[in-house]
């Protein structure tokens, strides 16, 4: 038998009264994978996680774990552990008691509880805090305590709901790396909900991008970033996100407003399309899309230049400060392979 922890979601629909939160989610997460559910707030990613956990019942559809239908099982019978956004530590218990709680609930012998709690606490570096109450811990320590409580029982599935969102930026970076290492060393399947694309990109083996209750795309972070499947995914990913311009294409030519650009690559029959170009793919040059510099934003490591092309703002990101100034007329060029084309009516990639 392969190692346990495979999740399959089949046609999951979730309705809250008249509102449909999930419109038929299909997903397969192989055992041992670190899988991210990424999407803006209200896109259904947390609901999906809660359905996997058993905290919510789908209106329709099945949840399978290792082939067994667990759709109607209680959360406690699913062998899942979860880290909540608020951590949900039990405030009246010490750190030790918090971590020991899931073991106590299944009548584990005391000696075994002791050893397991210490082991879990050491893995997340809070072994020296076992006698404290959660209220006496810093945010980062509370987060580790919640992690320890989740890993102490060696669950089949490890569910994380925005676990880093309450940490400050520096701690988030550190913890993110440790989380990934921890998951690898445990070999457990992890499902990770986040609205932070950078987090999803760095941690996940694969991810699903949620948009308005549907999965817009599933793939490795690289796949999703390099080849966004829809306009919405393209507009969601990247910092700043991809520039999206209305365009007409015909054969080797693409025109934005009145401006025509010639390509070596054949773009297909004449039609309306949405052209996507990442801000980092645009260069200032002598030829290309004509526009006027509207605003220059210094980010320290990079510079974002807002260029008005017609009445549309286009962002250009460069590592070095480009030799342009506000109000200047410029031309923007890009490589043909950096052009993403989306069908204007179906909104999906062509």
């Amino acid at each position: 038998m392969t190692r346990p922890g495979q999740i399959v979601l089949r046609d999951i629909i979730k309705r809250h009264g008249a509102v449909t939160a999930l419109h038929g989610i299909n997903l397969e997460i192989p055992a041992g994978e670190f899988f991210a559910l990424l999407g803006p707030s209200g896109s259904g990613k947390t609901t999906t996680l809660r359905i996997i956990a058993g905290l919510e019942q789908p209106t329709e559809g099945r949840v399978l774990v290792d082939g067994a239908d667990v759709t109607n099982s209680e959360p406690g019978d699913r062998d899942v552990a979860m880290v909540f956004q608020s951590y949900a530590l039990y405030p009246h218990m010490t750190v030790f008691q918090n971590i020991a709680f899931p073991l106590r609930m299944v009548a584990t012998p005391k000696a075994e509880i002791d050893a397991s709690v210490r082991d879990a606490a050491e893995k997340v570096h809070i072994a020296h805090l076992l006698d404290r109450k959660p209220g006496q811990l810093s945010g980062g320590q509370q987060q580790r305590c919640a992690l320890a409580r989740a890993i102490v029982r060696k669950p089949r599935l490890f569910l994380l709901d925005e676990p880093l969102s309450n940490l400050d930026a520096k701690l988030r970076l550190e913890t993110r790396g440790e989380l990934k290492k921890l998951q690898r060393s445990l070999g457990v399947t992890a499902v990770y909900v986040t609205h932070d694309q950078e987090e999803a990109m760095t941690v996940a083996d694969r991810m699903a991008v949620f948009m308005e209750g549907r999965i817009a795309q599933v793939g490795t972070p690289d796949d999703v970033f390099q080849r966004p499947a829809t306009i919405d995914v393209a507009a969601f990913l990247g910092s700043p996100p991809m520039n999206l311009l209305e365009a007409q294409i015909e054969g080797h030519e693409i025109s934005f407003g009145g401006q025509r650009l010639h390509f070596d690559r054949d773009l297909g029959v004449a039609r309306a399309a949405i052209a996507g170009i990442r801000p980092s793919a645009l260069k200032f040059g002598d030829a290309g899309l004509a526009g006027r510099v509207d605003l220059i934003e210094q980010l320290g490591e990079a510079t974002i230049v807002n260029v008005l092309v017609g009445d549309k703002a286009v962002r250009v990101r460069s590592e070095r400060r480009p030799p342009v100034s506000e109000g200047q007329d410029v031309k923007l060029s890009f490589e043909p392979r950096d052009l993403h084309l989306f069908d204007a009516s179906t909104r999906s990639r062509v």
Binding site: E74, P75, Y90, P102, M105, V106, G135
Partner: protein, 279 residues
């Protein structure tokens, strides 16, 4: 700075007046309880007198003992409190957590029962208890006390349960506790302050109750609030003994108040300030 000191001075003045108004009857009763009946009636009133414990001795162990009545009060109050809490805690938890239909309407109904004047209820209650033969019985009086203590306790407890994030019991459910153990191990310990406050209020309400006790009680069940009237008769009022009995009856109330003081202040401000209610 000056405006602030004027404000605090007037605040202290108001507090002083209120305190005087409240403590005067208690102090009067305290002083009177140590006087002889003759000193009580002295005019002008004497502030300096030779104190005596005779009233307490008579009231506790003499012919006019209220000891059985104290026990009666204690039995009624403890039973009413225990039963109330046994039902109110799960009821309040359900109201706070489960998505029941008509939850709002039910909550309002619970509160609305508190608005009925007890005098309007005492006659129907009397008739009901008479029919089932429960007049002058502990089960009868306790049952009637439940009709007002239960809604009050539920209403008070609901806000404590609502204060606890749902994620708490979700975490417990995932940690394999199940609903019942989630309540016992995770939720109840976090609302113990609220439970303490509710116990105190319910107990005191039962202990201080007079109207139902005097109408529905009798020779078997005669709480101390009713028994005190033995000291008032057509011929005379035994002020000193009445005062001693009152002080004894007040003692548990004051004691409980002092013990639970910290919780009560928190309990009354629950929900007033975010996170101010708990811990």
């Amino acid at each position: 700075m000056k405006g602030r000191s004027v404000a605090s001075a007037s605040l202290i003045a108001v507090a002083g007046v209120v305190l005087t108004l409240w403590t005067f009857p208690v102090l009067w009763a305290l002083l009177t309880s140590f006087k002889t009946e003759r000193d009580v009636l002295a005019y002008p009133p004497t502030l300096v007198f030779s104190p005596t414990l005779a009233n307490y001795r008579d009231v506790l162990f003499g012919a006019t003992t209220i000891l059985p009545n104290l026990i009666s009060s204690f039995i009624v109050s403890v039973l009413a409190t225990a039963l109330t809490m046994l039902i109110a805690v799960p009821a309040a938890y359900s109201l706070a957590r489960l998505d029941l239909p008509a939850k709002r309407a039910g909550g309002f109904y619970i509160l609305a029962t508190q608005m009925l004047p007890p005098v309007g209820l005492v006659i129907p209650y009397f008739l009901v208890l008479q029919k089932v033969g429960w007049l002058d019985s502990y089960k009868g009086l306790v049952l009637i006390y439940l009709t007002f203590s239960l809604p009050f306790a539920i209403w008070l407890l609901v806000s404590y349960f609502e204060d606890i994030p749902r994620e708490m019991e979700e975490a417990a459910l995932i940690d394999r506790a199940g609903r019942l153990r989630a309540l016992l191990y995770v939720i109840l310990p976090q609302v113990r302050g609220g439970i303490a406050v509710t116990v105190v209020f319910v107990f005191l309400n039962a202990w201080n109750e007079f109207l139902f006790a005097v109408v529905l009680g009798g020779n078997t069940v005669r709480p101390v609030t009713v028994a005190m009237f033995n000291f008032i008769s057509v011929e005379q009022t035994l002020w000193a003994k009445l005062a001693a009995a009152a002080i004894i009856a007040m003692a548990p109330v004051i004691l409980l108040g002092l013990i639970a003081q910290r919780h009560i202040v928190k309990g009354l401000t629950v929900g007033a300030v975010k996170g101010g209610g708990r811990r």
